[in-house]
Amino acid sequence: MAKLNLDRDKVDVCRELASALVHPVQKYIDLHSTVSIERSVLRLMGLTGALKDENGNYPLANLIVDKMDRRQLSLGIATWIGAAKLKYDAPLEVLATRIIQGKINLADLPEPPPEAIRKVLLSPVSEAIKRIDFNRKERERLRSRSPFPRGPMKYVIVATGNIHEDVKQAIAAAQNGADVIAVIRSTAQSLLDYVPHGATTEGYGGTYATQENFKIMRSALNDLSQKMNRYIRLCNYSSGLCMPEIAVMGAQESLDFLLNDAMYGILFRDINMKRTFVDQFFSRVVTARAGIVIQTGEDNYLTTADAFNNHHQVLASHFINEQFAKNAGMREEQIGLGHAFEMDPAIEDSFLFEVAMAELVRDIFSRHPIKYMPPTLHKEGDIFFSHVLDALFNLAGCMTNQAIQLLGMPTEAIHNPFLMDRFSSIKSANYIFKAASSLGEEIQFNANGKLARRARTVLDQTHEYLLKIKDMGLMESIERGFFAEMPRPKDGGRGLDGVFQKARRYYNPFLEKLGSSR
């Protein structure tokens, strides 16, 4: 039910503008690859191991890509793995060990003809894709057997730093009624240019995203889902310098959701924009195939830019994120745009305006599994009051039929959620979602009221903003702080040195097989 009486033409124009302004960036993307993408290719083909040294575990995929010079890499790591396979006819693991030991020097190999490479990689590549496809179907099967939650899905985070403790807390949350468990990453993992390895028990404000940790949590949740006859979804972060690799891990370990945004890393982690744009594309090519739903991070904008005045930034970014995702072959049902209930609670009619924004996003992106983030910025140490803020947030989410509700915590301004914080939070959401179950269907907003006018104003502002961005160029507008009031220089930030231009004969079998027809 579209309730805001929006100007549909304006919505269409916004989409077209976004498509147009993304186009030059997409062109750039198409001509480039990154070290992370190349490592992802290796990971897809099963190279998920790591080597232990005095600094801990370092992934085999990194060791190999680190060994390549840029000229070679510009042909794609697959070219050289193909070459090695052609010459030594051994499984990837074996080749990798020898390469790392220096027994095989890829630089010495001749570049084989394209057809030969394609042929020798045929089997590992299709194995890789089969694994992903199998997971997707398996998840579809499990989901279809379990009741679809009425009202927004209840999404909670666990963040103890210790995967085994996380499992306990995830189980408790699911038993209380949570539908989605997101394992928050350790602070600053996004700045690591490699993925940590193995089961980990020490993280800061979160737990490292590792393949083993993914496996442990997935398996615990699958067991629980079976016991409860209710499928529990799992979420992690395909974000930061290893965005593509984590997308691969998510696909391989059968995650349901991945936080993944075309611009978040730029704005909030000071990662270079070119690196991020190129990486997000490949990560989305993988998640598209894996049937994973991505969740974008526009909610974060409202923590640095005032939520009342800047909602058009969120909406503009939604249109942009959507276009990037579509370019990577994602269906609308996979694009979980993120927004948030972040207005200053001291504003008169803040709840009204929050509902207006939530409804606006829902109206414009009606097929998207929208993710609604709770108040965070305006929370303080009064846990009783924070609990009330979350109650209105829950009601807003339920009234406007958001797909996913990230449950707020009374202790948001204090610490990572204690077990009891999450418990209280879920209990509150269970009540509100049930108590207001049909509320959204039962009310209409006055056609020209404060609420509807607010929504329309924001749409107008978004339209103008997109026009400006298109004129200026997306990269340039980021340089000028158009999003979240975080200006970022085109060649600044981390990870630019991991970006390279593709050679004409660049080869990436997964991009070839999975990439959209663009």
């Binding site: 103890t160 403790e165 140490g381 009064d382 610490h415 204690f418 077990l419 209990k427």
Partner: protein, 261 residues
């Protein structure tokens, strides 16, 4: 909804026996507190709150919120880490030992083993006007899908409801030759309920004509089985009690006393 009050025995098998509070990891001892101090709001008061909680034996005390309630009072939210532990193996709880029967089972047992209706009299005593609790046990419709005493064919149930003087209740018990008396107390301010409940027992002792087998039960949201026993009652029932639990107790106790168990 998660509204329930467990009375079952806690299953402690799979747990470490010596425990402390759990915030987000084992033995972190994290406890949340809130309180008011009778002082103005300011840095000194915040420090006072911290020292106050430290004096209670907490470590890593974090005053996460301070706000003026008025010129004379300040509100605090505090987190702290305790070093206290409890060995749950050492906890002994007094609880009713009888099994809980269903409506049908209870009627059947009374019919077969006793062969006459049991007479039960209930009331909320003193100035306490709360009838909802005693009604939950007596009224036809019962409580949480568990039928009330008035629907039991093998019980003669008399509910005097609320504001009943203990003197009147004793008289009624005698007049009806009751097998069980059931007293409710909901208002517990200044332990008034304990005084009233004990007064009833005293009066009972000094009254002739009371059946020596009379089963004496009390109940209410702040009453535990253990407390009731300590006051001289045969049983006490707290929040969430269902009629069948109470009826089961009565039948069980009656049979025990008659040596028919």
């Amino acid at each position: 909804m998660g509204f329930f009050h467990k009375k079952e025995e806690a299953n402690l098998e799979h747990h470490e026996p010596v425990i402390t509070a759990y915030g987000d990891q084992m033995n972190d001892g994290m406890v949340q507190m809130s309180f008011t101090l009778p002082t103005t709001c300011g840095l000194e008061s915040k420090e006072a709150a911290k020292l106050f909680v430290e004096k209670m034996g907490f470590e890593k005390v974090m005053v996460t919120h301070m706000e003026a309630i008025s010129d004379n009072f300040t509100f605090f939210v505090v987190y702290g880490k305790t070093n206290q532990h409890i060995d749950i193996r050492e906890i002994k709880v007094v609880r009713p030992e009888h099994p809980v029967f269903s409506f049908d089972e209870i009627n059947e047992v009374i019919e077969k083993k006793i062969g006459r209706k049991l007479v039960v009299v209930g009331a909320c005593i003193g100035s306490d006007a709360h009838t909802v609790g005693i009604d939950a046990i007596f009224n036809m419709k019962g409580f949480r899908h568990d039928w009330g005493f008035e629907r039991y064919p093998w019980l003669s149930a008399y509910n005097l409801r609320a504001q009943v003087a203990v003197e009147d209740l004793v008289q009624k018990v005698v007049a009806l030759n009751a097998d069980a008396v059931l007293i409710s107390r909901v208002v517990t301010q200044r332990d008034e309920h304990i005084i009233e409940l004990k007064k009833f027992l005293d009066l009972l002792k000094n009254t002739s004509g009371v059946s020596p087998h009379l089963i004496k039960i009390c109940g209410g949201p702040r009453i535990s089985f253990e407390d009731a026993i300590s006051w001289g009652y045969d049983a006490g029932f707290g929040p969430g009690t269902k009629p069948s639990e109470v009826a089961s107790f009565i039948v069980h106790e009656f049979l025990k006393r008659a040596g028919k168990n």
